[in-house]
């Protein structure tokens, strides 16, 4: 292409749009379904129940250690399917680009999406692009919708949790959230932190069994927020043991300095699994067998005693409530 950035005419539906789609999107996303070039992609149906999810990605900066908005837009949707018990199969992607956005960055993002999707074994089967005037967007926004298949016996839901069920986390927390803060260049320190951004279905799909009550990926708001949601949805409570929660020393050191709590920081490659007491040891062993779950840990249990609340038993033996956060996470200024 002879220009080096997105122009309004790329969104006008004419030759330029066609060229953009051909030369960037189809080149990287190539697969037989997309190659049909129909208004709607046709794909074979399969036995089981469909799971569908959609998510929009507006991360800043677009490129960060461990990932970029493209990779994130695939992993985020794949993980929402995976924690619902689905095997991810198809993805659609919709791009809103700002006039002037560099094509070289667009191509990097698209290539990264394609690479992540290929590794995850999910096909990108439909897409859309829109261009907005300079100043009315923020570079690029991506929305992905994912479709996956759930095996018949699987039904993960907070309603299935019972007092005594175990809470397992697949690894240490906060890497993504803190990496993004640092990558914005706004922290007073430089770090070697890397986002944990990863697709989790290969870690989670093999766990499937009716003994698993539910799964979640603790993204925005972190583990504390995710468990608060589960507590509210189930009417049960959680009791976590501070000392059992796996920690990343780099995250903890920096979070401490900034006055942040890793239990509230975002993750993009972690899962929390609630399993029956009988299944918990097996689940833990299986998770630890996979590279993405090496540091998995049993961190607490479901209780009937504090409905709707998440309690943390500190290393000192005291208890504190982990509440829903009220807004953005902010470093301290004092």
């Amino acid at each position: 292409m002879d220009q080096d950035c997105i122009l309004m005419s790329h969104g006008a539906g004419g030759l330029k749009t066609y060229q953009l789609i051909k030369e960037i999107f189809h080149k990287h996303f190539a697969n037989p379904i997309l190659a049909q070039e129909l208004d709607a992609s046709l794909f074979p149906s399969a036995p089981g129940r469909w799971a569908m999810t959609t998510d929009s990605f507006v991360v800043k900066p677009l490129f960060f250690p461990g990932g970029d908005i493209g990779k994130l837009s695939v992993c985020g949707t794949v993980n929402d399917l995976a924690v619902s018990g689905a095997k991810p199969l198809y993805l659609t992607s919709s791009f809103i680009m700002e006039e002037g956005f560099p094509l070289i960055d667009l191509e990097k993002i698209v290539a990264s999406m394609a690479h992540t999707a290929r590794e995850a074994g999910i096909q990108i089967v439909a897409g859309d692009t829109k261009v907005v005037e300079k100043g009315s967007g923020d570079g690029i926004f991506i929305t992905t919708t994912g479709l996956g298949l759930v095996p018949g016996e699987i039904d993960y839901s907070p309603q299935h949790m019972r007092p005594g069920d175990k809470v397992i986390i697949s690894g240490p927390l906060g890497q993504h959230g803190l990496t993004i803060m640092a990558a914005r260049g706004s922290l007073p320190v430089s770090t070697s932190l890397v986002s944990d951004c990863a697709c989790l279905h290969e870690l989670l799909n093999p766990l499937h069994s009716p003994e698993i009550r539910c799964m979640r990926d603790p993204t925005r708001g972190g583990l504390a927020t995710t468990l608060n949601e589960l507590a509210l949805q189930s009417g049960l409570g959680f009791l976590l043991e501070e000392g059992a929660i796996p920690r990343d020393p780099a995250v903890e050191g920096l979070a401490d300095l900034l006055g942040l709590d890793s239990l509230y920081l975002a993750n993009e490659g972690k899962a929390v699994v609630i399993a029956s007491p009988q299944a918990a040891p097996r689940v833990l062993a299986q998770l630890r067998n996979h590279p993405l779950g090496r540091q998995a840990s049993l961190i607490g249990e479901v209780t009937g005693e504090t409905p709707g609340q998440v309690l943390l038993q500190t290393d000192l033996g005291t208890k504190r409530v982990l509440r829903m956060p009220a807004g953005e996470l902010l470093p301290r200024i004092c």
């Binding site: 803060m181 007073p188 709590d261 000192l316 409530v321 807004g327 200024i333 004092c334």
Partner: protein, 354 residues
């Protein structure tokens, strides 16, 4: 304490042995949060009460100062930068969050340097950094001014609401406040100030004083040291947080403060006007002073609310004793500043207490 390492168990045993009805105030917002986060009140004997002082810079920013910032942010061509915690602090006529939603340019940042960079990239806008914080944050703002000067950035200015800890402590104790027996003095601020500026508390007012760090051990050891001072009636300023604080403080940061700022009278939320308790920009840097640049008038009218922040900051009331606490006043819809900041004592009680 003599050089021995003490376990938490030892510390708590020691505290229990020496316990009697006493009230200690932690001055710093980070202490307030740490005490709540580790659940330390559960470990302390009931006789020892911990009060939260005026140590959260967001909490002590007055309603009228917020209104001033709102007025400025509403002017055409002005972009206001500030720390996120300031966003929801209510003035009489709204908050920065509400005027941002109505179209004012308000941007959250983590440092004044970030704001300066934006000024360089947006020469056609007037960029104002709303500075809050104590002696710990003010030197970083001074560095930004130094750089603005060096690079001839002339669309950058600072609306300084920075405050000085010591005059506030002076105001607290000189009011004849007998409710406080000792102070856990702030670790971060003291790393800049050193120990000397607090000596009057011990010397003139017989208050026990320990500069403490932020782990559970730090705070418990600090409390034990306070108890020993009270027991022996030997009031002085001790440094528990030796790994962070030199007795002389940080000369470089102090030099920045002395060069770029000058003490001015300022109004604290809940405490009123306190002489020399604010940090205004020094005369030599008046070009960077947003007050002058935009001819802002201080002393807007304050509208009374039922908020008890003043009493809370003075150690006279606890958050749960405020009639609005957790009812009309929550972190999402704060009435007073103590509920806004993540370091505020009402927010700490809301999140960790109850």
């Amino acid at each position: 304490m003599p050089g021995k390492v003490k376990t938490i168990g030892d510390l708590i045993r020691g505290i229990k042995e020496k316990a009697r009805p006493l009230r200690f105030m932690e001055v710093c917002g980070t202490h307030t949060m740490a005490i709540a986060k580790y659940g330390l009140r559960q470990l302390l004997p009931a006789e020892i009460e911990l009060l939260s002082g005026p140590g959260c810079p967001v909490c002590v920013t007055s309603q009228s100062d917020i209104d001033l910032a709102l007025e400025l942010a509403g002017r055409p061509g002005v972009t206001l930068f500030t720390f996120g915690d300031m966003l929801r602090v209510p003035g009489a006529s709204g908050s920065l969050e509400t005027i941002r939603a109505r179209g004012a340019n308000v941007i959250i940042c983590y440092s004044a340097l970030e704001c300066l960079q934006y000024a360089v990239n947006h020469p056609q806008e007037e960029i104002v950094f709303l500075g809050v914080g104590f002696e710990t944050t003010a030197p970083t703002v001074a560095v930004a001014i130094e750089q603005a000067l060096a690079h001839k950035v002339n669309n950058f200015s600072v609306l300084s609401f920075h405050k000085r800890v010591v005059p506030a402590l002076q105001a607290l104790v000189s009011g004849g406040n007998t409710a406080i027996d000792g102070f856990l003095l702030p670790g971060h601020v003291s790393s800049i100030l050193g120990q000397e500026p607090y000596e009057f508390l011990a010397r003139e007012y017989n208050k026990a004083c320990v500069i403490t760090g932020f782990t559970a051990e730090d705070i418990l050891l600090g409390i034990l040291m306070l108890l020993s001072q009270v027991e022996n009636k030997s009031y002085r300023v001790e440094i528990q947080y030796k790994r962070g604080v030199n007795p002389e403080g940080n000369p470089q940061a102090l030099a920045y403060l002395a060069k770029y700022f000058t003490p001015v009278e300022t109004t604290w939320r809940g405490l009123g006007a306190i002489p020399e308790s604010g940090l205004g920009l020094a005369e030599a840097y008046k070009d960077f002073d947003a007050f002058r640049r935009f001819s802002l008038q201080l002393g807007r009218k304050e509208i009374p609310t039922a908020c008890s922040c003043g009493e809370i900051l003075k150690g006279l009331k606890k958050p749960v004793e405020c009639v609005l606490f957790a009812k009309q006043c929550t972190p999402l819809e704060p009435v007073g500043p103590c509920m806004v900041s993540s370091e505020g004592s009402c927010a700490a009680s809301f999140y960790y207490g109850r």
